[in-house]
């Protein structure tokens, strides 16, 4: 099977003119469809920066990123927004959801951006929220949900756009151990049953244990890459 994500000599240097920080330094990474990959490394090692680069949220200062063979490094900002909408699901550490919308409206929102019909949006939102175990919370706003429940809504939202893969930057950082396990289980299930590709960064050993591939970064470089 081909790679969905490929990076070649990918680099991102902050403050190149003053005190350069090589947040991502010459990274070659290939991710195949169906992977369940953890990005680990000490604080400041460049995990967030790398995820932003392969998610098209930021421009590299060197090298390139290809998503299914399409080079996104030279895409305009507007094209990238559209590209992300069509191809990539995101789960962030916090503030994933629109506070004034209910869980199902949050999930429907991306489909609204994709101009999906109202019937299909509603149907799919219910399906996805049921899949993440929030069938009884459809009409709750984020403030009425626990942190773990909010992250599960975020996963459902990420899935709603039918992306090619999902990027999650420390999705469990704000969660207790039960919610962490719960979220990981849901992600693993989606990975196994729907072959959805996940790449997530984490500091949590229990989360790392669940991954099938662990990529370790130190000072912006990949120092180890193990598959289980």
């Amino acid at each position: 099977m081909g790679n969905i994500i490929e990076s070649h000599h990918l680099s991102k240097t902050y403050n190149p003119d003053t005190i350069p920080v090589h947040a991502v330094n010459n990274v070659d990474l290939a991710v195949e469809e169906g992977e369940f990959t953890a990005l680990v490394g000490p604080s400041g090692s460049g995990k967030t920066t790398l995820l932003n680069l392969i998610g098209g949220l930021d421009y590299p200062t060197g090298g390139e990123v290809k998503i299914e063979g399409v080079d996104i490094t030279n895409m305009s900002e507007n094209k990238l927004i559209d590209f992300r909408l069509k191809n990539i699901g995101f789960v962030f550490q916090a503030y994933n959801l629109i506070p004034v919308l209910t869980a199902s409206e949050n999930v429907e929102f991306v489909m609204l951006l994709q101009k999906t019909s109202k019937n299909e949006r509603e149907k799919r939102a219910v399906e996805l929220l049921t899949e993440v175990g929030l069938k009884d919370k459809l009409n709750k706003r984020p403030s009425e949900l626990s942190g773990g429940q909010q992250q599960r809504v975020a996963v459902a939202r990420a899935l709603a756009s039918k992306p090619r893969f999902i990027l999650a930057d420390e999705p469990t950082a704000n969660l207790d151990s039960v919610s962490t396990e719960n979220l990981l289980e849901i992600m693993a299930k989606l990975n196994k049953e729907d072959n959805m590709t996940f790449i997530f960064s984490t500091h949590d050993q229990r989360v790392i244990d669940k991954a099938r591939r662990v990529v370790t970064l130190v000072d912006g470089k990949i120092v180890s890459d193990t598959k289980k």
Partner: protein, 240 residues
């Protein structure tokens, strides 16, 4: 003793006994105006039942010119003059007042503009993370722009009815009781203005003011909206 020119052009005079002294709110009017009985005057002037001037007071000031034109047509032998022709200074003063009002409206709209820019800029900067997230998951710039402008318009739409209600209540009450400016009465009565002012709300002013307000709201949302578009999703999301 009052002297007049009679209808035939001769100089005549009559002696009257002062029955009372009046004071209106207009001192210049008081200085030159004397009331007598119509019949007494007619006898001295030899007009017997005729009169030399009729003042017409209209309920609606805007119709002045139309009514004057109508009267001119109906009575071509009479001299018909509007108040602006009779008293050009007054007309000028009134015109200046109108201009002043537009300047004041302009100043208020400018203040409104700064108010909205401030509010929307706060709202946008406060929600930097939210906008970053929205752009990250695929909300494009025209949509973000439209959203912010729409929020500003909705904010204004909520304000307009409240403003109209407040204005109607205050102006309604003042129109009934009047605004007492007697501390300035000397200056005012010299110009012939009364020292108690009864404000009126012109219905015709509502629509233009509402439209100007809405336009101001849209215009002042543009800067905050542009500001939001400059956010880089990668940075905005990780702002603490």
């Amino acid at each position: 003793m009052l002297t007049f020119q009679s209808k035939t052009g001769d100089l005549t005079a009559g002696s009257f006994r002062i029955a009372g002294i009046f004071r209106s709110r207009n001192s210049s009017f008081d200085q030159v105006t004397v009331f007598t009985r119509f019949d007494d005057l007619a006898a001295i002037l030899g007009t017997t039942g005729g009169m030399h001037e009729i003042a017409v007071v209209l309920k609606e000031g805007q119709k002045t010119n139309a009514v004057a034109a109508g009267l001119k047509k109906q009575y071509p032998s009479l001299l018909v003059q509007t108040w602006t022709e009779l008293s050009p200074q007054m007309a000028l003063l009134s015109g200046i007042m109108d201009q002043m009002m537009y300047i004041i409206i302009g100043i208020i709209l400018l203040a409104l503009m700064f108010g909205i820019i401030n509010t929307m800029l706060m709202a946008v900067l406060e929600r930097q993370r939210e906008f970053g997230m929205l752009m990250a998951i695929g909300m494009n710039k025209p949509r973000v722009f439209a959203m912010i402008v729409l929020e500003s318009v909705m904010l204004t739409c909520a304000g307009i009815p409240a403003g109209i209600l407040f204005t109607s209540l205050t102006v309604g009450s003042l129109a009934k009781h009047g605004i007492d400016l007697s501390s300035f009465s000397k200056a005012l009565s010299q110009y012939g203005f009364s020292n108690i002012i009864y404000p009126v709300l012109k219905q015709s002013m509502f629509m233009p003011v509402i439209l100007m307000t809405a336009l101001t709201a849209i215009l002042s949302a543009i800067y905050p909206a542009i500001k939001a578009l400059r956010f880089k999703p990668a940075e905005a999301i990780h702002k603490i």
